[in-house]
Structures are given as structure tokens and as C-alpha cells.
């Protein structure tokens, strides 16, 4: 079993090794490893498109993480106090949000949002008495963040609900007993208790959003995210430059994951 596990680990890390090794390859393509070089990093980081895409992805992932952590925490806490039916409905919808194929959500969001935008623009124009509807909304980071927040929130709700299941109801009563009302109890007991899960969920959201391709492809408007950029590049013939970008992404993801997991574990130690 130990040997098999080791084999599985090799399997899991093989492609990662390929990416990392070839990102330092001197050769112009991936047909052979001809020597160490940082040229692809230099090329990647002097490519304004790649840099813009990377920045875009980081900003989107950060915002998705914050938004979904905030909403997810509120939902997870709220679910503690609702009827069984509401809980089941909300949880199923969240699950659906995780399971629906990205291509469907992506295209449908684009169609839905653009219809909603023009509807809203026309409404504003009518109210303001303008002759022609002005362009008020457009696709871009906010739309990607909204769309990513769906599956990120679903994830956060899961993580935080798991944590809340460890919440001892008598802490809430103890707080009441010590003269804190319900709102105060929420703020002084429940929220601090779920902080580790919030951090972990937020960081996981960051990573997932950072990696997401197809939804971002549709709703990112004129500014591609890094996966969108990478995928388009792959389709027109890959260059080793992509390995350099991927290795950089990997490094970012590892750093973020390490932080996420250390928080998760700290949370577990406490509970």
C-alpha cells in the first residue's frame, strides 16, 4: 500500500515536474531539453499581454475570494437558523452551482447579463428621459467576479458549514447567559469561531477562481484572464513561454495553498 501510494504521488507530480523542468529549458520548443535558461521567464514577463492577464486574474481571484467568503459565511451562518426545507433548497442550489458545466454557465451568463444590462440601461434612459440609452454596464472584472463567486461561494458554504457543525451550541447559550444578546453573540462568538474556515475557504476560492477558464472566457469582456490567454495561446501552437507562466502560477498557488492549509489546520487544532 505504501509503494502504491508512492506511485500515485509520482503520478500526481509528473506533469508538474514536466512544466517546471521545461520552463527552464533553453530550447525553442519542447522537443528536447538542451540546457538551463531563464529566457522563457524573461519572455513571459516582458510580454505585456501575459502580464496584463496575470494581473487581471489576480485581481479577479482576490475579489471573488472576498465576495464569496463574505456571502458564503453569511449563508452558512444563516442556514443554522432556517427551516429544513430552506436549508435543503439552498444547499442543493449551491451544489448545482458547483456541478453545472462551466460552458453552460459561461455562455448563459453572457447572454443573461447582456440582456439584463441593456434592460437596465433602457430603464435608466426612460426614467432619466434620455433619447438614447447610454452604455452604463459592460463586461469585465465585475462580471467574472460575480460568476466565479457562484461556485466559490458554494465551496465556502461547505467549508464553513463543516466548521459550524463543530460549533458547540452551548457557546451561544453561554454568551446569552453572560448578558450578550443574539446579535452580540453572533459577532463575539460565531464570527471569531469561523475565522479559520473563512480564511481557508477564501484562499481556496482564490485558487479556484484563479484557475477557472471557460466562464471567464465568456464574461471577462475585453480583458482576458490568464487561463483564457493561455488557452488561446495553446490553440495556436504552444511555446515554452507558457511553462514559465504555468510555473509562476504554480508558485503562487502553492504559496496561497500553504497559507490556506496552515489556517485550516490551526482551526482543526482548536476545535
Amino acid at each position: 500500500m505504501r509503494a502504491f501510494s508512492l506511485f500515485i504521488f509520482l503520478f500526481l507530480y509528473l506533469p508538474v515536474a514536466v512544466i517546471v523542468v521545461f520552463s527552464f529549458n533553453a530550447a525553442p520548443n519542447m522537443s528536447a531539453f538542451t540546457g538551463l535558461s531563464l529566457r522563457w521567464y524573461a519572455k513571459a514577463f516582458s510580454n505585456p499581454l501575459a502580464i496584463a492577464a496575470l494581473t487581471n486574474s489576480i485581481v479577479i481571484a482576490l475579489c471573488s475570494a472576498v465576495v464569496s467568503t463574505a456571502i458564503g459565511s453569511a449563508v452558512a451562518i444563516g442556514l443554522m437558523g432556517t427551516s429544513r426545507t430552506t436549508r435543503i433548497v439552498v444547499q442543493s442550489l449551491m451544489m448545482l452551482g458547483l456541478a453545472v458545466p462551466g460552458i453552460v454557465i459561461g455562455l448563459a451568463s453572457l447572454v443573461f447579463f447582456s440582456a439584463a444590462f441593456s434592460g437596465a440601461e433602457q430603464a435608466v434612459a426612460m426614467l432619466a428621459g434620455w433619447e438614447q440609452a447610454a452604455k452604463l454596464f459592460s463586461f469585465g472584472r465585475p462580471t467574472v467576479i460575480a460568476a466565479h463567486s457562484l461556485f466559490c461561494t458554494a465551496l465556502v458554504v461547505e467549508v464553513i458549514s463543516l466548521r459550524l457543525r463543530q460549533l458547540n451550541p452551548s457557546w451561544l447559550e453561554a454568551s446569552n447567559d453572560l448578558y450578550a444578546g443574539r446579535g452580540e453573540t453572533l459577532w463575539r462568538v460565531v464570527v471569531p469561531f469561523i475565522v479559520p474556515a473563512m480564511v481557508a475557504g477564501g484562499l481556496l476560492s482564490f485558487v479556484l477562481s484563479f484557475d477557472e477558464f471557460i466562464i471567464a472566457f465568456f464574461v471577462s469582456g475585453t480583458k482576458p484572464t490568464l487561463p483564457v490567454y493561455m488557452f488561446a495561446s495553446v490553440k495556436r501552437g504552444a511555446t515554452p513561454e507558457l511553462n514559465a507562466i504555468a510555473t509562476s502560477m504554480l508558485t503562487i498557488s502553492i504559496l496561497v495553498s500553504v497559507v490556506a492549509f496552515s489556517f485550516l489546520r490551526r482551526g482543526q487544532a482548536r476545535a
Binding site: P15, V16, M30, A74, G78, G97, I103, P227, M230
Partner: protein, 280 residues
Amino acid sequence: MLQPRMARLLLLPGYALLALTLIGPLITTLVISLGRRAPSGGYETALSIENFASVLSRSTAFLNTVQLSAFGAAICILAAIPVAFFIAKHLKGSVRYTVLFLVVLPFFTSFVARTYAWYFALGGRGLPAVLEWIGLGRFRFLNTDFAVAIGIIYAYLPIAILMLFVAFDRIGDDLLEASNDLGRGKVETFFSVVIPLAMPGLISTYSLLFILLSGEYLIPMLLGGGKVYFIGNAIVDLFLQSRNWPLGSAVAISLMSMMIVVAFLSQIFQRMANRDGRIG
């Protein structure tokens, strides 16, 4: 515990998010699926269920998807079982969580890049070259079911390991020791105690994997090279290549219906397994 009024307030942003990013787009999909392809592609309003009838034209892709997903999910689980069991039952303390972390680490790195790395690893200059060099002969892996299966297993193995870890972790060491104590060795114990008790977890893992796999399109696209075609690819092509959105939406809705059925069946099976294997 929590006042219903406050609970409702806290749920509001969640409802808004669901309405905006899930319900709205899903209704849009439904509306599109009832429409008609515009002459130059895209969508025109109409009210017909013709597209759902045309879904049948993608039945090969459906069949392919179901087969490879069912197979891929099974392989994932089979590969994940020893690893998850090893982590859950043979590792202790912080090593355990470190190893678990290492399992999921690749999962949190770029999906496109990892899958593309397999493209190179399985391509002529990768693994086949190594095998040829060893003298095992000339192999070609890329663009086969095998390559797609590898990609799928690779991508979903961490999830499977994670979920099965949770399922195995819940089985107390005392039950395994009790079985040893009653004269059953490790293998016999595994099949007579661990598997029955982990059954609900195995079922839910399998169905989740199946659902996620059947929505997959990137892996077949990159590693299947158009030779392995999933329903997800059919949907992507319908939206992005033929630009026949109504049919794409109809296919997507059919796919989601299948997923819902699978999820539902999984619930039923889990409940049945649960009745036998409830812990405590």
C-alpha cells in the same frame, strides 16, 4: 439558536447571488433551448422542443461520456482507495495532514497547464520516447481513450482521495483492531469491515466524480485530440463552433438532467447503504 429573522437577513446576499449567477443563466439556457438557430449562428426566439429531439444526434457523445465517466470514476476510486486508506489509517499526526496537503497540492495548480503537461508527457517526445529508449517498443498514447483516462484520473484523483480519506477516517481504529482480534487479517478485515462501512462515502464519491467527469471537455480536447469526444465537447462546439446555441442549450439541459438523476440515485443508494452502515 439563531433568530429566523436574522437568518433570513443573512441569507439575502446568497439568494441574490444565486438568482443572478445561477437561476438567471439557467432560465436563459432554458429559453434558448426552446429557440431556433439564427441563419448566421446564435439564437432566435421561438418556442419549440425540436432541439430536444435533435439531442439524439449527439447520442454517440453521450454514450462515450457515460462510458468514460463511469470507467474513469471507477478507476479514480480504485486508485484512491489504497492511498486514502493509507493516509487515514497508517499515518498519524502532522505527517498525515502534510501528506494530504501534498495530495491536493497539484489540484490547486493551473488546470490548463497540468493537462497540457500531460499532452507533452504522453506525446512522442515524452513517455513513449522513454519506453522506446528502455526498449519496450514504440507506443503512442496521445489522442486515445487511454490518454483521456489518464488525464481524467489525474485531474480527479485528489478529490477522490480527499473524499475517501474522510470516509475512511470516520471508521474507528477500534473496529479494525476488533476484526484483527477476532481472527481476521488485514485483507479480510478490509473487505468485511472497511468497505461495508465506507460504502456511503464510496457511493457519494463515485457519483460526484461521475457528475464532474461527465461535464468535462478540456481534457478530451487536449488529450483526446478530437478522437475522444465528450458531451462537454459537443456542447462547447455547439456554442463556439457551429454556434447552434439552441441545440447546445438543449444538450446541456439534457446533460444536467442526467446529472440530477445520478445525484438522486446516489442519494437513494447512500441511504440504503447507510441503513446498514450507520456509525454509532
